[in-house]
Symmetry: C2
Subunit: 348 residues, 2 copies
Amino acid sequence: MLPTIKWDDKKVIMIDQRKLPLEEVYVECFDYEEVAQAIEKMIIRGAPAIGVAAAFGVALGVLQIKTRASLHEEFERIYLRLERTRPTARNLFWALERMRDVFLENNKLELSSLQQVLVKEAINIEKEDLDTNKKMGASGKGLIGDGDSILTHCNAGALATAGYGTALGVIRAAFEEGKSLKVYADETRPFLQGARLTCWELDKDNIPVVLIADNMAGSLMQKGEISLVITGADRIALHGDTANKIGTYTTAVLAKEHGLPFYVAAPLSTIDFEIPDGSQIPIEERNPQEIREIDGRLITLPQIEVRNPAFDVTPARYISAIITEAGIARPPYDKSLSLLKNKIIDND
Amino acid sequence: MLPTIKWDDKKVIMIDQRKLPLEEVYVECFDYEEVAQAIEKMIIRGAPAIGVAAAFGVALGVLQIKTRASLHEEFERIYLRLERTRPTARNLFWALERMRDVFLENNKLELSSLQQVLVKEAINIEKEDLDTNKKMGASGKGLIGDGDSILTHCNAGALATAGYGTALGVIRAAFEEGKSLKVYADETRPFLQGARLTCWELDKDNIPVVLIADNMAGSLMQKGEISLVITGADRIALHGDTANKIGTYTTAVLAKEHGLPFYVAAPLSTIDFEIPDGSQIPIEERNPQEIREIDGRLITLPQIEVRNPAFDVTPARYISAIITEAGIARPPYDKSLSLLKNKIIDND
């Protein structure tokens, strides 16, 4: 299992995803501010992994509270700091809300007991995420046929989660049951998650992977070399509109044009049941320098204006199915996603 | 005017397009082998510019012939060397064929006279290309409206031609007549022609340009921020199927999905009247290292398999119009392109 993020006594250890695949460097965070900055700088990224990191961030923050006197005030400060790290991934807010609920349920406890309860909850969130991904793999693997060539965008793998992955978890599950398959990984500019992270992960697991530039998927589909598309998600609205890494929408349009299935794999914690459609998903616009530079070196003139939206929204009508840990949702998604959510609640 | 390529007595000078925009370095070629390598290494690129370079290469080669004894044999060697530099751009073969026709018409002349005729012909090809682009701009500028935002892919500008450009020539002509416009330039991995060349050219001319990653155009179209697409072409088949830089096909699919016009701007020398459709256009697959590296530095593990097709084919049904120096061709293209060709022949 890849060590995306781990709790280690009074610190959090995460692999520095900016340095992969050429360097495997680990970053240690001793307080919530360091975790917040790690999320902002994309030392850790991927919606479920951001959720786990935020939960650990809350735990670290609460561990540093010295007296009950300012407990609620301090908790609020920690919460608000972590909440404003990145705006799009639903899992960040989901994890923070869950930690707050546990905090509120247990805030009459002695401080040290409350601290232990919150550390335990954060570790549970991490463990559950791994379990969720395994279930998602089991749910979705039947959608992949023997001999399929699968396009994926960005990294929705072990590195984007507590382990195993969402989109790559489904691919792993299909591979583990003996299916012959090939993954085409879009390099995913500007952060190159496909080239750097997806290729590294799949190569470690001996899953055949072919790296392509983002602009090549259309041509490969035209030639019949892609069977289906699977991506992860950062936030899914009630009716199924899905925010995911910039470029995902283009792969969905291409899939539609070529009559190929387009699947999204995401845990229920990525679904925002509060917002009906994608128009209300906040889309992060990141530092323009990420577009002007690659690996710290300019690829254009420094004065050139750029756009750098980190995500786009794929409307539900392009999505063949949403694969979750509770099963596969098909359109209409407001109904199918709500049913899956209730199924999980009933099982708990 | 930008100095893409120039004949200078017994040598050819070209700007090194691998080094732009951060370094403006010129390369001098003294024989046809150096020109052939400059084309292969993409020191010079862009279909019309490759055609001009090949013509100059023939001229340099013929200048080095010492006696009439082996004239035809030597000419054939020069021709074949330049012919196998890059397979897709029609203009390469068009320029070589034109130089061979002039060679054959004049091969009874004294060697020194024949050499002068061929140098003159190559210089004519260069001058005509610039003139052709100006005419193309005049033909196509009416397709751009005041206030339009134009997506372009790769570099179909002054640097891809003897000057002024094909797609960027049309944009320049619209800008020169006072239209307010904005150009979105796809960065165009792996060679980054958009980020490096298109942004540099347009910035020099004070034409507003915004650089985006290749995977962002779909999202911008979805938000209504793009009015139309214009690209160049490397080879156009009789029925209008167009080979151009990898990723062009994706922009055409996106344009169709969003109801936007998709225009191709190319001289008649890019049209291959001998082949009916795009299935017969040879597509170059370049060195895999271009995908694994950016600027000489690995972005993935060295053992990762990659694909690196340099071009894709956009079927004619996605193309709203083809802008040429003789006017605008509309579907069906076999008829409209043939009419434009005859119009040029009649005018000569």
